[in-house]
Amino acid sequence: MSDARTPLSRFWAEFKENKIALVALVVVVVMILLALFASIISPQNPYDLAKLSLMDSRRPPGFVGSGGYTHLMGTDPQGRDLLSAIFYGLRISIQIGLAAGFVSLTIGTALGITAAYVGGRVEALIMRLVDLQLSFPAILLALVIVALLGQGKAQLISALVAAQYAYFARTAYGAAKAERGKDYIEAALATPLSGSLVVIRHILPNCMPPLIVVATVQIANSISLEATLSFLGLGLPVTEPSLGMLISNGFPYMMSGRYWISVYPGVALIILIVAINVVGDQVRDQFNPRLRK
């Protein structure tokens, strides 16, 4: 089949056919926009302690607070407007998910391709380590590392990276190993091009499709893992709550029927994670040659 369109536009045309994936993509984009413009669209700056009043704390949705506007989703125990806190929380969650995903992608890919290209002892050492790590549950690793490093954004991202780079390394290794054996790589290596140039220009681009799929799934996983750690009280400091921290803050009040403090941030979190996963599933199906007609 000859197709004059670029691969990207062909990819997009195929993506559009799955309506559910398309909706999910729109949801993801909207949530990223909400996070980006949180400071403009939020009725309140939830980090500005001077704006918060304890008089307004734990009010139900629809309550008109001392700020003179309606709290559409109610307020949390510190008197923060929940809607604003969710926008800002979304920003932190997405930031951490993207940062952890990107760093893991870089480190994991570098390790995986190095192992596949160099071979021998280096390969055995790296892949044995990766396999070993994959046999431990990610949550436990992240928990341990956060416990060791203490609280903070950088520590949390390091923990997530340490827990997740192995998935990228495995994927990159598998893809690079397959490419390494192909004739065009042998041909490229026979030319005076340096080995590293062949890796970067020829092997790396051909490893990207599976890595992109893993990246979408892992970003969703990072966000979920971060929320879990924050919920356990091991994530970020309370002053700049992520979605997980907001849920955790509201948990003690749930028993007395003040459901909104935990439930609304949770709904935002679930929508984000499920939407990213649906998009990731569709991308994976499109990259999978076995499912191609």
């Binding site: 949550i139 948990f251 029927g257």
Partner: protein, 324 residues
């Protein structure tokens, strides 16, 4: 074969040594436990006495060797907070975690396999689609969130089930168990559902994939040609053929469920090992943290070692030839 076993065994030992160094150094490098153990108004003499008694005045490597030699004698130190041997502390909490994990994994397996077989047997029915939708949710929704919703719906709104604790326990051979009493069983329901959901999703997928594959094979065709009823085919032939990967995953998942129990136990105030470790991290009770991490590492290294051996002993193709 012997060479392979020795090689893997040495690797496992090496991993354990490396883990113990990392965990020990990491845990001992943060915070000052003295501030937690000793009240601020204590005199200088009492402080120094306590530092000496806990061995915190010695260099780190010396502390490590003392720790390792004690460890090899089965002594993991005393908890700073509870002042009882760590092993006793963890051992006391273990039954609560074990009963929760076992109940969750076993019920998830039974239910998941039945639903998965159905979904694979009639893949286009609406019920099959529902089952698969549930399994997708089970994968993507974070488990702590499911726990919260379970509490909100069943404990707060309807008031049907308790939201936390173990309820009444019965002593069997000196160990307290919840499941034999009705009240205790009632307390297990919500945390067990919470913990089981992810495994349920996994089992559904495994069973469904296996069923779809095997229903197309000659075995099933011949069984049908022989006039066996569909029920007999499913029970006697299909179940046997899909059970191998399921048993493997069952073993693997038992370990990782112990890890996830940390989250579930925290939400439902279930007094197991997971809750203990979270509390210990909070108050920097180092001996408990070190002991827990080393025990978990040991558990996983052992599971992996055994799996390596089993896979080496039973070549899957050989096994396949025998069963099919």
């Amino acid at each position: 074969m012997l060479g392979f076993i020795i090689q893997r065994f040495m690797q496992a030992v090496l991993v354990m040594v490396v883990m113990s160094v990392i965990v020990f150094c990491g845990v001992y490098a943060i915070g000052n436990p003295i501030d937690i153990v000793i009240p601020p108004e204590a005199t200088q003499e009492i402080r120094e006495e306590a530092i000496r008694r806990l061995g915190l005045d010695r260099p780190l490597y010396e502390q490590y060797f003392i720790f390792i030699s004690n460890l090899l004698q089965g002594d993991l130190g005393r908890s700073f907070v509870y002042n009882i041997p760590v092993l006793e502390l963890i051992g006391g909490r273990l039954p609560a975690t074990l009963e929760l994990v076992l109940i969750s994994v076993i019920s998830a397996t039974f239910l998941g396999v039945s639903l998965g077989i159905y979904a694979g047997y009639r893949p286009d029915g609406w019920l099959a689609k529902m089952i698969m939708a549930v399994s997708v949710l089970g994968f993507s929704v974070p488990s702590f969130w499911v726990g919260l919703i379970l509490i909100l719906v069943f404990a707060v709104n309807f008031g049907w089930l308790p939201a936390g604790g173990r309820g009444e326990t019965v002593e069997i051979w000196g160990v307290a168990w919840s499941f034999p009493t009705l009240n205790g069983l009632w307390h297990i329901v919500l945390p067990a559902i919470n913990l089981a959901l992810f495994k349920l999703a996994l089992m559904i997928r495994l069973a469904r994939a296996g069923t779809r594959e095997i229903m197309l094979t000659d075995t099933i065709k011949f069984a049908r040609a022989a006039g066996l009823s569909e029920g007999t085919i499913l029970r006697r032939h299909l179940l046997k053929l899909i059970s191998i990967p399921i048993i493997t995953v069952f073993g693997l998942e038992l370990g990782s469920t112990l890890a996830f129990a940390v989250v579930t136990e925290t939400i439902f105030s279930w007094p197991g090992v997971g809750k203990l470790i979270i509390d210990s991290i909070g108050v920097l009770d180092r001996p408990v943290m070190v002991a827990y991490l080393i025990l978990v590492a040991f558990l996983f290294v052992t599971i992996n070692f055994v799996i390596d051996l089993v896979f080496a002993l039973i070549d899957p193709r050989v096994r396949h030839g025998v069963s099919a």
